[in-house]
Subunit: 295 residues, 2 copies
């Protein structure tokens, strides 16, 4: 398997699915619909939706049942970027190679487009779950997303990230930020995929462990790329952590040590799946990709 | 029944329940938890949660099953107020008699507190629904909330409201705003209460009609109070519609005509329940209260 070719194929499949779920840009409220679609359509790696579907298949589930979750997770990810980029937060004007939402649509509309995407994500998951067998399974899967996206997950991480600008923080707090701001959503989407796919408790706990580790590694690599990455490939401004005076793995531990930790996390992540799942080739490849990526 | 005494009793019951569901203010992310609780604890009429529980009982359901929905709806309402008050939107510094969230916690935290409340509302509904009989019923009830809170409901209305500032709009567009910005959430909470309570299709449709009418009347009265109301009783600045140059029922049709329309809506709303439900006394009283209220 050529992993990068596989990944590209899967991402392009997600692009198609996403388009089907984007709201039609009609009605009095069409500005917000345009703003939602503008940010949703800006590309990106589509890693999270891929993770949902792959985890569902890993445990023997039917990918079709998890599609609305894959779409929803990308909407939640996109809303978090729109709000993160706002002038009151990170004040970024470039994202995925495009002007950010508030630059194009104004601050009010960017705030509302973010709200709308978060809310629409739940719409889609709920609508996609009603009328299916085993509704309890879907309640649990939606809850896995919601819990990991909220104050005890992604939003918690964002809050502490924002408050830590221009402050020296210790590694404990930095780990809290990374685990919540980034890894929690990986845990959320893999848990949802696993639950929809019918995972048992033991499978779920291995998957959560894998997700935590690749999620943390992913963020450490993000921090590294913010220093040594290529702005064009990344599609966003580099140096923004230094500019915003943020504590990161490299700023606390140095580039080399950070790379080492990321590599260890990836080795450990792959161990979580070892001997427990057939057909784990893609998720092994994904783990390796996370530290070798240049964008 | 003395309606106002009943209403006060029910609101104070909701206050108690809300407190139980508020997140504990501990952890690295405690600023956002404080900001959530600050706005949640600011009082208000608690009409929406009361509507959830009353509708559940109206159709013969067990109020206890709907409590997480009552709490969630107040969280969604509160998030919408926090974001609405932001400088990029209505720029209000006073709400429910207190400084607004962004005045106290700053813009970044107010944005995140709003996001957090919306997300937490789903957490609570989902957690409150898992492990119960008839999970399908709960999926439908949560979807009723989500649909009415989003781009085809409340957010849609907010978007058009924001875009209509300093513009003369026609009654069609104004109706779109009022129906979506305000009435949709009444529809959402009464639908959820009805679904959890086990309403049949016909009951649900009468209840939706009642909710649409009292919702529209509620907003017309809000517009009227923004002109003739008492700032102290309202707990918010009056004259903000005129200041923001907003089209309202009074500005398009005059105060008298607006009052007339609101009264007609209330008469019609009560007719929707007529002969279909025993024990509709409280909802009749609520309809009357909506046009007689001074805050």
């Amino acid at each position: 398997m050529d992993f990068k070719v596989e990944l590209k194929k899967k991402a392009s499949y997600i692009e198609g699915v996403l388009k089907e779920y984007m709201p039609e840009e009609v009605g009095y409220q069409q500005t917000v619909l345009k703003a939602m679609n503008y940010s949703l359509g800006a590309g990106g790696k589509r890693l999270r939706p891929i993770l949902v579907l792959e985890t569902c298949k890993l445990v023997g589930g039917d990918e079709e049942e998890a599609i609305s979750f894959a779409v929803a997770i990308e909407m939640i990810h996109t809303y978090s970027l729109i709000h993160d980029d706002l002038p009151a937060l990170d004040n970024d004007d470039l994202r995925r190679g495009r002007a950010t939402s508030h630059v194009v649509f104004g601050e009010a509309m960017a705030i509302l487009a973010g709200d709308a995407l978060l809310n629409y994500a739940f719409d889609i998951m709920l609508k996609g779950s009603i009328g299916r067998e085993n509704p309890e399974k879907y309640l649990k899967a939606i809850y896995a997303i919601s819990k990991n996206a909220g104050i005890y997950g992604m939003i918690g991480g964002q809050v502490v990230d924002v408050e830590s600008e221009n402050k020296k923080i210790d590694k404990d707090k930095l780990d809290y930020i990374h685990k919540n701001k980034t890894a929690a959503m990986m845990v959320g989407c893999m848990s949802a995929g696993a639950l929809v796919g019918g995972a048992d408790e033991e499978q779920l706990s291995c998957i959560v462990e894998y997700a935590e580790k690749i999620g943390l590694a992913f963020q450490i690599v993000d921090d590294i790329l913010d220093i040594v990455g290529d702005q064009e490939k990344l599609g966003k401004n580099i140096g923004s952590d230094i500019y915003n005076n943020k504590s990161t793995y490299p700023s606390l531990l140095g580039l080399e040590k950070s790379r080492e930790i990321a590599k260890e996390l990836i080795v450990d992540a792959k161990k979580c799946l070892d001997g427990k799942f057939e057909n784990k080739e893609f998720l092994d490849g994904l783990a390796d990709y996370i530290i070798s990526r240049d964008h």
